[in-house]
């Protein structure tokens, strides 16, 4: 796993320093987290130019609003991932219509093969996500798949319906039931049973 995941305390200190306008801390934060966030952005946006744009926007926001970090939003890297992902989702909604056909001579969109992994599998097999993985395993196949596709592909309900070849209403209820069950499970397991 990336080194950034292993040092939440240091990242929290850097975030605090960044909120005070410390540029060196900002550079260190970028060094520690940018490759992690960029990997995530590439995964969602599938295009390097968009991912670079989103990465810049994300760090710009962190520079301007690092004081909005709260531990309740997760570890620092989790929070940064959330900020990055929200930016990616907004970009996707603006740009998705173009996503299918890049101009000739342009860099082709990244594909799953390019990233050399399938996070949908990693999410339920991978180490490091603890009880979330256990709770994901407890979902029905369609529920799990629709939640993970929405997370990693940034799909809307309509796009999910297309991808999963199912009626819109059905897909919506997969997502909602999946999320409800996840919530119950995450609450039931509680913070103390974190295990790897």
């Amino acid at each position: 796993m990336s080194s950034a995941a292993a040092e939440p305390e240091r990242l929290a200190q850097l975030l605090a320093a960044v909120s005070g306008g410390d540029q060196r801390a900002f550079a260190q934060l970028y060094e520690s987290c940018s490759s992690h966030l960029f990997g995530l952005l590439l995964r969602i946006l599938q295009r390097r130019d968009w991912a670079e744009e989103a990465l810049q926007d994300c760090f710009l926001k962190v520079w301007q609003k690092s004081e909005t970090y709260e531990p309740a939003r997760g570890a620092p890297l989790t929070w940064l991932s959330t900020i990055a992902r929200y930016r990616a989702l907004d970009l996707l909604r603006m740009k998705r219509p173009e996503v299918e056909m890049p101009e000739e001579g342009e860099e082709p969109p990244m594909t799953l093969a390019d990233t050399g992994q399938n996070p949908l599998d990693s999410a339920i097999e991978g180490e490091g996500i603890g009880k979330l993985r256990d709770c994901m395993r407890g979902l029905q196949e369609e529920q799990r798949r629709s939640v993970l596709l929405a997370y990693y592909e940034g799909y809307t309900h309509q796009e999910l319906a297309q991808e999963m070849d199912a009626p819109l209403g059905t897909v919506k209820s997969w997502v909602r039931r999946g999320l409800s069950r996840l919530r119950e499970c995450l609450e039931a397991v509680g913070g103390s049973m974190e295990r790897e």
Binding site: R24, S35, H36, F38, T78, L89, L132
Partner: protein, 248 residues
Amino acid sequence: MKLQSAQLRRMLAAEYVLGTLHGAARRRFERLARADAALRAEQYFWESHLGRLATVVNPVTPAPTVWISLQRRIGSGNTVPLRRPVKEQPKAVPMWRIWAGMAAAAAVVAVVMLSQRGTLPEAPGGPQVAQQAPAPAAPAYVAQLKVPDSTMQWTVSLSPERGQMTVAAAGDYPQLGQHSMELWWISPQGPVAIGLLPVQGKGSMPLPKELTAQGGITLAVSLEPQGGSPTGKPTGPVLTSGPATQAA
């Protein structure tokens, strides 16, 4: 406006974080959450849990130009050079990937600029570049570029109005081998080739007249095949980058 049903509130927060809530509904949720601590708590619950899905994605190092433009956007007067994390170097991200992102934007500008740049001295090994041009009487800008993990460094004096630049090399870069080190001016549109850097002694190079110091000057050095980048765009890793500051 209040959302009465607890179940609805939970689901809105969950779908907001997952991203399936979009458009006007998404913006509306953000407005509501700003004024509603309980709704924010729901949102944070999902952020802290679903956010862990991000940890299973493989990291990918972004192009160095992202950091450089980011510094411009935060209005940093004093560019903080990034260390290249040593442990990441052997991973050898393919160069086309490192540079691919900026290629599209940079290509047009770089090609235009390159077609107009002056001829640069060839640089096979030894003390080269030296055109014996007199140093600008009063260099307007100065940059110190140091290659991390080596003693190699350059002092670059630029006078964009005169279209002149002088470079003094110091130190050593034993890893150079059959490569050249090329200097780039990072314009808002992308890197513009300036020329090959000497590894020892002094030299001077003409600067493309189109380049202006407006908005600050950022320079970068990349490792290229001997004789310089064959494409007019950086093709190798960035060894160092930094700002040029106005000379006193």
